[in-house]
Symmetry: C2
Subunit: 388 residues, 2 copies
Amino acid sequence: MIGNFTYCNPTKLYFGKDALNGLNEELPKYGKNVLLVYGGGSVKKNGIYDKVLAALKANGKTVFEDGGVMPNPTSEKLKEGIARARAAKADLILAVGGGSVCDYAKAVSVSVNCDDDAWDKYFIRFDDVTCDIVPVGCVLTMVGTGSEMNGGSVITNREQKLKIGHVFGENVFPKFSILNPEYTFTLPKYQMISGIYDIMSHILEQYFSGTDDNTSDYIMEGLLRSLIHSANIAVQNPKDYEARSNIMWIATWALNTLVAKGKTTDWEVHMLGQAVGAHTDATHGMTLSAVSMPYYRYILPYGTAKFARYAVNVWDVAPSDKSEKQIAEEGLLAMENWMKKIGLVMNITDLGATADMLDGIVDSTRIMTGGYKTLDKNDIRAVLRASY
Amino acid sequence: MIGNFTYCNPTKLYFGKDALNGLNEELPKYGKNVLLVYGGGSVKKNGIYDKVLAALKANGKTVFEDGGVMPNPTSEKLKEGIARARAAKADLILAVGGGSVCDYAKAVSVSVNCDDDAWDKYFIRFDDVTCDIVPVGCVLTMVGTGSEMNGGSVITNREQKLKIGHVFGENVFPKFSILNPEYTFTLPKYQMISGIYDIMSHILEQYFSGTDDNTSDYIMEGLLRSLIHSANIAVQNPKDYEARSNIMWIATWALNTLVAKGKTTDWEVHMLGQAVGAHTDATHGMTLSAVSMPYYRYILPYGTAKFARYAVNVWDVAPSDKSEKQIAEEGLLAMENWMKKIGLVMNITDLGATADMLDGIVDSTRIMTGGYKTLDKNDIRAVLRASY
């Protein structure tokens, strides 16, 4: 553990098959007007929308709708949501969906009572929140982003070809989140494994940084082992409740600030993936999987000891008679084979990236400084080329 | 993950060498009257008392004192503390010390505005808290109990020879805790290793229960590996900041409710240890270490698979060509050798337990049902005999 830090995560979680009953505990705490935020309509098909609406009605709420939040919520849609929340005089924003819907709800929540343009204020200038925040609750239907228990919000500006995340403070965290693993059963396989890799990437972004001895790294090795184990089961049987519940729980703890405490972190894979996403509109987790192996192989020589530890403690690579470099490389190979086995996209061409996009993706990739090597533009280009 | 559960842990933590500055963030949130609770006076010798008092004065507080909280806080002392808090019209109870002081502060906090006898209400009848709670803050000087981020409070009734814990809800958790690893540097070795084993026992009580596949078990294996690693360093060099900071952080996460979520737990070691403590007034962690090996060897046949997993994942026992039982036994042997190596007390005789106390200890041991075998009185007697 290094440095000074604070930790506070006040989000209340309701977990399990009966989690939705938590709404009856939470809704009475808020005023009458609820802005119900959701995505493309899958929540209407699978019945979750009806259940949530019934709970809202039973608790005497006036419901205002804001559907159609897209997988990469845009700054344009954000403007619309802010206007809707204002018109509704929303006392609570209830997000029903995955990370995108929850991210979007948080971006609306900090902008309703604020005159500035939300995109400029939070995603270009990274301003602090100075206005009153409308509380957010979340009913999660897709796992991966951890948005249900953190202050993260990623918004895409299509015109500017930028996809940018703002990590808000604990006052912006959802007040409560409803986590029913069964709600994730109907998700298409592509979305499920994309979410699984998003979780893994969140952990690895925080793991592959620093050389100090830190309890967080031990916790992350446990989370990774559990994730790999449960992912293998879920890919075979998406309705295995135990596996899906473990994956849901790991997703939350991978990115609710705990494992980053007292250590440095990287996040370059997300910067690369988000740049790819801004140009292709591809699914978030797949942009991460497509750039990961080229990136990790590129930086391995600068963090060999940690990659070797990863190989042994997460992938059960036997260290006998091998050099640290060999052990490290075997770990990445095991990871790559596993990624292919569960069906992840392994290069950005398969996500629609074309040769003429390369310069633009390089330009919109933010450069982070917490990883084992701080890349320059040429390094970024080399990593992306290896993913073509 | 099994069953339905809720999770909420609102305690704000300030961690690191500058953690005490957190008082300047927190104190302004509360009224003028602060009841300053501490133990036998070591905080006066090591200067922490002066630093805290200076922060209280700088924030314009009127300070009322309640010192002399003993390692196993008694129901008699609790009565005194309640009277002091009432006389002070305390707006905040600030506990400066280890788990005992923090436990005691919580017991006072739920009793100040309550007419019933606190011991009877919370520790005999296990009543809910129905009165207004005085908020508690904590400056931690000793690690082990996790009391800085949970609702636990253990009180001893010397007359009744009972040491009983009540786990209060999140409204009783400390509002904030100050965790500076340097504050633990001056602790005598006996107290340090006792605290380390208290942490280990908290994890094992939650680990050795259930047969489902649960992310919590993977997290706990990580916590245990990190604890063993850092304990080995701290025993050699008590002022190794990295090791002491990891131990402090593990202590918090071992018992702040996270790793018990979605799984069953045991706690029989604590019931045995607390019964020994009630009769001998021995240091808490040492009562746990003294009963652990006899207990785990006694229940091993009923949970062999988990003990074998523990051996491999925590103690690096090589599974090659061995039966599950052999692997499990090797794991416990490795644990026992390590316990002896760092200097833990391995039998209750060394804690002052005499033959004539046996019946009394057996009688005051609560029987739990979450472990791999539910003991009866004869089992309890056999386990305790093996610790004589």
